[in-house]
Symmetry: D3
Subunit: 322 residues, 6 copies
């Protein structure tokens, strides 16, 4: 057997990699510079600009352990050392969170042309993390109610512990309550990253701005979307692929999108929404209503209603030409 290589250059191209790195690095720099000058970012901060998804994932993981030490903490944890674990882990998570909060505050300041004096921002970051930390015990109590609701709502659930450990809906609501706390403390970028971590893990997409009462349960969950200004009462239960969305995006007279206006549904206490239902716009679903699977709903229903596909179509003639 004889292997033929016809020329030395062919041999070298086969065995020695050469990527013309200098050229590519230069062109990538050009692309960055063009983008920056286009956006008026002529003076870069010199440091990476943005919080880190990976670090927030670690922070959330630590907070889950601190909130539920004997169930989501490390395998070898013993009850004697529970508080030490909680204190140590919490401290690590809060210190890391402080860095991320600072990054967001600095970033926002830079966007507003505010450079250099960052001591006040550091003080603000400290205050945010302190408030966040103080909120954790109550958040744990609310989550206990959520978990209890999940247990009671699913005939396949064997124990509250299984629910905590396995259910994507529970994972999503833990993330949401942490994200919503960050959102209320004016670090919406961190809040959004936490929400997207849950989205990636569970397929459940809850905007951190949504206000959700206790005893909330999502079953299965993949494809659920809940918008920024949605308001959800106590003991609400929803299933996979439910959308609580906006019907239209309000624009001002110049046609610019108007951000922050209420545009998602209000869902009152004890409502159940079955899989695949689509609920759009600033409508109200009255207390105790049941919304059937795959229903398409764009107007309010009063308390105690039971809406199915057929009936929903009668309700919403005006959507025929959306």
């Amino acid at each position: 057997m004889t292997i033929k290589i016809n020329s030395e250059s062919e041999f070298h191209s086969a065995t020695a990699a050469n990527w013309e790195l200098d050229k590519i690095v230069q062109e990538l720099r050009n692309a960055r510079n063009d983008w920056r000058s286009l956006r008026g970012r002529t003076r870069e901060p010199g440091l990476r600009e943005l919080p880190s998804r990976d670090l927030l994932q670690q922070i959330i993981r630590d907070l889950c352990g601190a909130l539920f030490p004997m169930r989501l903490g490390p395998q070898e944890l013993r009850e004697e050392s529970e508080d030490y674990y909680v204190g140590h882990t919490l401290d690590a998570a809060l210190n890391q969170l402080l860095q991320q909060v600072q990054l967001e505050l600095f970033y926002v300041a830079r966007q507003q042309g505010n450079n250099g004096h960052d001591l006040a921002l550091k003080a603000q970051a400290n205050s945010i993390v302190r408030t966040f930390a103080a909120a954790l015990p109550n958040l744990r109590r609310i989550l206990d109610v959520d978990i209890q609701a999940a247990y009671q709502g699913d005939p396949a659930a064997r124990s509250v512990d299984e629910v905590l450990l396995c259910y994507p809906g529970v994972l999503a609501i833990i993330h949401h309550r942490l994200a919503h706390t960050l959102y209320q403390l004016d670090v919406p970028l961190l809040a959004r990253i936490v929400a997207e971590l849950a989205h990636s893990l569970t397929g459940i997409d809850i905007h951190p701005g949504a206000e959700i009462g206790s005893g909330f349960f999502i079953d299965h969950g993949t494809g659920v979307v809940i918008g920024e200004t949605a308001v959800i009462g106590e003991r609400v239960r929803i299933y996979q692929a439910v959308t609580l969305g906006a019907k239209t995006f309000p624009t001002d007279e110049k046609g610019h999108l108007q951000k922050g206006l209420p545009r998602h549904p209000i869902v009152e206490d004890d409502v159940v929404i079955y899989a695949g239902a689509t609920v759009l716009g600033r409508i109200t679903i009255g207390k105790g209503s049941i919304i059937g699977g795959n229903v398409w709903l764009t107007r309010s229903v009063q308390a105690g209603s039971s809406i199915t596909q057929a009936s929903s179509r009668n309700l919403v003639p005006q959507e025929a030409n959306l």
Copy 2:
């Protein structure tokens, strides 16, 4: 340039983090204690109570390598050392699994007020893992049929190897067959965790109790939900966002949910169900039927049926007021 800090305390709040850890740790302890006394968990086991999702993920990863060594095993594996790799990896996975099975058995025993004598439980755990291990070779053979079915069912597939490596439906069925084996061996919590690992990776949510024949293929898969008592025959093919769910939750005379009753569909051999179809209740889809996209189906159809949106509406007048 002069930076102004108005007071020493302002300076310290800016530079020294202080989270009042003692207070938060104490309040978290109070929350845990309240929850425990509410649930009558006055005597804690002293050790972490529950299996670990992270460890099960590692176990499944190792089992995948042991089942398909030259394709899902380590990059540097050579055929000469295949059996050594399989034996060593299997041993590591089974030893880890033994720990997790013990945790579930101990947990269940504690739930039933059964403390202290754990030697019998350890023997039971050993027996479970031994049975699980013995089932693996046959499971590999069934998976080969599933993979072949996936290859034949998708015009975009170039080889059985691509299918094994890339297709989320294949990843889901590997997880399901492992989870279902654990479910049959009476460790439903571990089974559920394995199912949720697949759900998180693929968006496909198959309850580990579901019985699924060989040659099963899910294409795309995101949003598929298959319930606990579903029974699926040979060579069935389903697409994304298909639900095989329960129509109602049976309750006993006191209104308590009755767990474990058959409440999900029976899908016979060679059925195809297209994307977005919703099939609810203990109905039977006869052999060889085709269920069209987005169909909503709550009553049985005979063998060889072809159901589309239009025809399905005619079939189910009684669902109008769900």
Copy 3:
């Protein structure tokens, strides 16, 4: 207290694990051998056959850092060292990619009975990676347009940086543009793995063969499916659970699936498709059309159309008996 163990063997079964490894390893080998002989793989290559999902995940992560260093790169990156980071990270990613490309080329060659002479394949792999690398700067420029589109399309977005960091739709399009480049360079298996990485992270399933113009934005995204031969114009916007799929699989006269034929929709410039819409077959959605939520569409619509559920049903009577 006295613990009773009734026999020595009971004691040993409780404390010493024994999995009968030799038997299981042998049976797994039998299963592999049966499978191999069934498929005519009598002469194995001696080395692991296939590219690695884990390594491709790392490669993509590195490429994201090299493309957006100050935003997706390491937390501690400073502007002074930006180019060093880009060059070093790119080099690592490309060298790793070279290994993976070689694996795919070798694999394909083996499938075709072509063993032994791999120098030409190595040269081909080098050429592929060189071309891929050279395409990166332009790809960055296109992604900047996508990100700008995402920012403008979502009223909840606060900055282009939030969009880059958080939005699953942006993550999906970054993966897709890398995967599509690999697809065009004739390494479809690598391309598919990259696509499935995005699918797992985001619930968005875009076949790497799909051709997508710039300024493309997917909001929320879970459940989106875009098929292999889909063609999408400039500035198209789609929402969660939209399917751009095939209606039927063309078969040849012998009933074999015909691979590679155009079978997915053409979506022209400036089209918007709302959540849950299903668009099937080689149809064309004309420039600037709006397709409403949950619409089921299987025939072409002309430019500027606005299709809703009601109107769509009128459009497609022929699909009644799919």
Copy 4:
């Protein structure tokens, strides 16, 4: 250019590795079996027999952090969380240590033909670790004295903190005091492993049996050897390459080595021994003596002596024919 490979087998030997693993694994098994049967180890315990050097290294590292949290603990530790860190780290270290103590106790029991009933051994292991843990606070106080002595004894030292962080002599005495505590608690194998960890890091070889008073300082240290039955008083200072060894090994009437007899020097309070001195046998160096560099000493010297090379030779004529 043409590459010539003369035969296919030559080509394969160049590109495909083959180690004849089966043969080597079998021969290694034979070697193990021969060794086991030679030593009468016909019934193996089924599990790895011995404690782990790597795990003990981690345990010692954690104990160092718990003893000196703000100086040897993690970089990001803050004073507020000091106790949480100490409690959590201590717990991790002690739980790990418990496993290692059990391994040594089981191992010794097996050596004595004692199989099966290990509950009493587990209780003993618990008791050992509890006693060890209770000794730590006093051990920290003694180490503070050692560190102070090191600081005062070296003109190059700038602070007690530098001494703790840098000096190999301090590292060695920390290890020794932990190892000696284990030695006294009858787990001599663990003790020895800890001593050898220090030996590897510092070149200082102190047998864990040696009794050493407080305020002990070794400068530079490489090559220091201190034997099992050495007794060292308060405030002793020694330099590199000093040996406190045995002169002869006592044997019984049958010529077997007699283990455990006092055979190493007694060094009284405030003695200084300069570099390279060799002190052999159960002799006593009186309080406050100074032993010069490279001195060879095999008989006792009274308190306050100052021994140099010349004078030492006069002292020890009987060693001429050792």
Copy 5:
């Protein structure tokens, strides 16, 4: 077989670990507080006080890679990306070093009662690291001369590359030249930690203050000690267990050790000192002298001398009563 446990508490002590953590943590806190109040450290800084050995180890490892990229850098480095690797790695190392330098400067400031205003210290730290960085290219050139000297000095050496990769003497001099640069830049604690890293790896103990000319070579090296004020010329070669030490520690009139005075030997160009020689005090070994193995030398020798054990004894009668 029946296992007997005589009491419930015995059973629990066997199976449930309990370390009385609260008590030990409290006692350790007491020990720390006593130590702190004894040393007047009533106001702790709130953060870990000291640089980290582990981080410096990583920094040195990175600097070695940046200095000798194709020989000590990563295995997969290619020449095309050499500069990118060097720049990126250097940047990482320098940024890390900056943190460590700040820690030392803050620490020293606190020791001197200087709290609060750390901006000037941060500027000083920046300046130190900048100077350190600028010194690296020249340091590489000097190390090339050292390596060449090692190659020429050892008959067993096969290439300069083997020398760089294997010789502990080379590892030690690389560390020393980095440590000495830090020492000159007034961060002696960092310098000392780097020196001790080398000591631990090689058994060679060179104080970072020692001044050493180029072409320096230590063979074997274990047990070598070189003191703080030693001055060594060009092309000096020394062997294992050589000491260049102080004879006495000068004290002031109050008996306090006087730090920083010249007290170690001056070794002129081209001197060779064989294994085990002990050279003490501020003496001068003249250019080109040879000091034999195990020689004990405490007075100066003129250029070109050749000293052996016998002759050295004649030289030093006055040391008889050290």
Copy 6:
């Protein structure tokens, strides 16, 4: 409190690091280029030139596990899976070793101006690793004898297992026997790296060329040096700080060092050499001799001799003027 920063540049120098990376990277490149052109290395290989110490450390660690699985293998190993562990670990180690052997062979070829045709070198590397692998079972048997000798030689040893786990002398001889095998297979650079790994861990410096009979034991060991051409018989025992060195380096008529000539001692069977003895030159220590502590010996002694400091001085008058 007001913090004063006098100028903006002072503020920036305090908060923004800038290392002038471009300049330093360029100067380092100049230094490398100068060095390369000085050494005639005008055409670099394009890839890292040399084997890796870190990878060899991992290889040795794996080989130790494969040789002594139940004692140096992983903690969780069970006897049932011993062979699988051994085979899998051995395979990993040998594959890694193959890469390292190739690197050394390529390196040597390049040094000799031999570029391009590396297939023959790959075949040679394979052959070397195969031979190395085949030698392992016998090597295990010899090490069993060494360990038995260590156990019998130390009165403080409690078991052969303690000896294997703790004794640096045993660690050194394991490394040496592996290194010597590599040395005999003509990969002296790898052999040397393995020897230096042992040197770093134990302070024992054995050149891989030294020939050492079975039943060899080094006690304590720090400072032991054994040269390249030393020949040591069966059952020899030596203590810390013993040197078996060369007296002079033979040079040829041009004054160049002559490499490879026998220049170190021959030590016959059953010799004991106590701590600190220095034995130099190609002399022979006759069978069964005892060499006392600190003896300096440069001429042969006959079998059965007992040499002490005093007697050794009489033996060697000619060394007075070394």
